[in-house]
């Protein structure tokens, strides 16, 4: 079950990067070759980018890829070190939890708005933040119970 989710999120990131690349190439093609710029390419790229950042940040939590400073923790005696290591997942859970709650609020605020060109509901873009938040909580909680 967890494996399916892990792979699903990673493939979503891969797909989003592919969409951004192809979309921008189409944009360049339309502007310089067709000389009639596709009006939608900018919005598609920016919406995909938003999702890429928040889903990718969740994958980074799972892979431990977010950069941190470990110099002081390494110098601590073992029992203090164990306590300090709990603080990382705890902080991730708290901040990601805030992303979920506040992101949900933002989605409700923006429920009626749509993007300028494509008329896409803005809440679809905002949704990246709470969804990414849920995934980050999901990936950080197991770290709390790590031996």
């Amino acid at each position: 079950m967890k494996k399916i989710l892990d792979h699903g999120v990673e493939w979503a990131c891969i797909l989003l990067l592919a969409v951004i690349t192809v979309d921008l190439l189409l944009g360049v093609y339309s502007r310089y070759v067709l000389e009639r710029t596709f009006v939608w390419y900018d919005e598609v790229a920016r919406a995909s980018f938003m999702w890429l950042v928040f889903l990718g940040a969740a994958v980074a939590v799972r892979r431990g890829a977010h950069f941190g400073l470990h110099m002081f923790v390494e110098m601590m005696p073992p029992h203090l070190k164990r306590a300090a290591l709990l603080l990382t997942p705890l902080t991730i859970v708290v901040f990601s939890g805030a992303l979920v709650v506040l992101g949900w609020d933002l989605m409700r605020h923006g429920a009626a708005q749509t993007t300028a060109v494509m008329g896409m509901p803005v809440s679809w873009i905002y949704a990246a933040m709470p969804v990414g938040g849920v995934l980050m909580v999901f990936y950080a909680v197991p770290l709390l119970f790590r031996k």
């Binding site: 990131c13 980018f49 941190g68």
Partner: protein, 425 residues
Amino acid sequence: MILVAVLVFLVLLGLGVPVAFAIGAAGLAGLAWSGEFPLIIIMQQIHQSVDSFVLLAIPLFIFAGMLMETGGIAVRLVRLAQALVGWIRGGLAMAVVIAEYIFSGISGSTIADVSAIGATMIPPLKRAGYRPGQAVSIVAAASAMGILVPPCILMIVLGSIANVSVAALFVAGFVPAVVLAVAIMAFIYWDARRAGIAPAQPMTFPAIGKAFLQAVIPLGLPAIIFGGILGGVMTPTEAASLAVLYAAVVGLFVYREIKWRDLPALMARSAVVTATVCFLLAVAAVIAWMLAVAQVPAAILSAMQAISAGPITFLVLTALLFILLGAVLEGLPAVVILVPTFLPVVKQMNIDLIHYSIVVTAATGIGLFLPPIGVGLFVSCGIAGVGVDKVTREMMPYVMMLTLGLLLVIAFPWLTLVLPRVFGL
């Protein structure tokens, strides 16, 4: 509000919490503590800072870089560099600097540069009799300089937060990078003379020609990027998408060093690197906003006026600050938080924004490799299998030379501004 945020940030950072989440929690705590503003401002700041066409260049340059960072391309560029400077005393070490200059023109990420050039050059340096710590220092110093050679992720970020043309920043980096490279190579030459290292090979034009021909395909990438940007026809984001196309064709069909089945893993890695960079940038914007609301920029301005600091003093202080913070915070968050805070001072002092951004970029680059905690230095030590403690003393003269080069750039803004002016950017 600010005090609470800074305290929370420092405590969490010290206890090993990833920078992005330490910053996020600090912003949350600060806002909750003051109670003056609705918490939803956090989300608006995060959304605003990511929702930008300029930043789209980041995933694309990272992706293109990953496609081009295969062993074969690094080896070809190193051969070219060796043919160019191998005949000078200390030429092998100088070739590292030259190769890094060219390689940075392909890859947008400093850490990726270190890995590629380090893995290719550290073994031959050791074989030629360079001490391991010395070999690591040379690669680290060259990579610190390389941050100034575009494309550069930090410049894209600076362009987006300081509202400067990224194209102008890219072009402005070339000459200061040469200044820093010459500073390092001068020390390498002096050191090689002192140690009595003989030149490795004579210079022959056929050899240079051959090495150049072999490097033509990798060199095509910077040619496309800067041809497009300097021709004034393309934005850096558009040029970046063409760079991905070129790199994919080269990797998959010409050199065939990348297999189709490697592609998903490579793209996932690009996505994760992009996300860590941009997530950090997004949450750091919250703190930058808090500093602005708390009138910190005005306080800094009056402090500068109180000590009657001129532009040069201000730039030197900026450089020192970003060297230190670049080492502690991996550069990027310091830039996102502090550059908006300093902008009013920069404008008040009539310092050109392009010049200022280049000084910040160079200082951050030096900070990334500052012993004993610069993250770039750790990566280089990891590649060579040498402890950071063994490199610290060897690295110091290089840090001095880089800083000297930066001071020259600060003293002569012409060095940064000449190319943007020539190209009308």
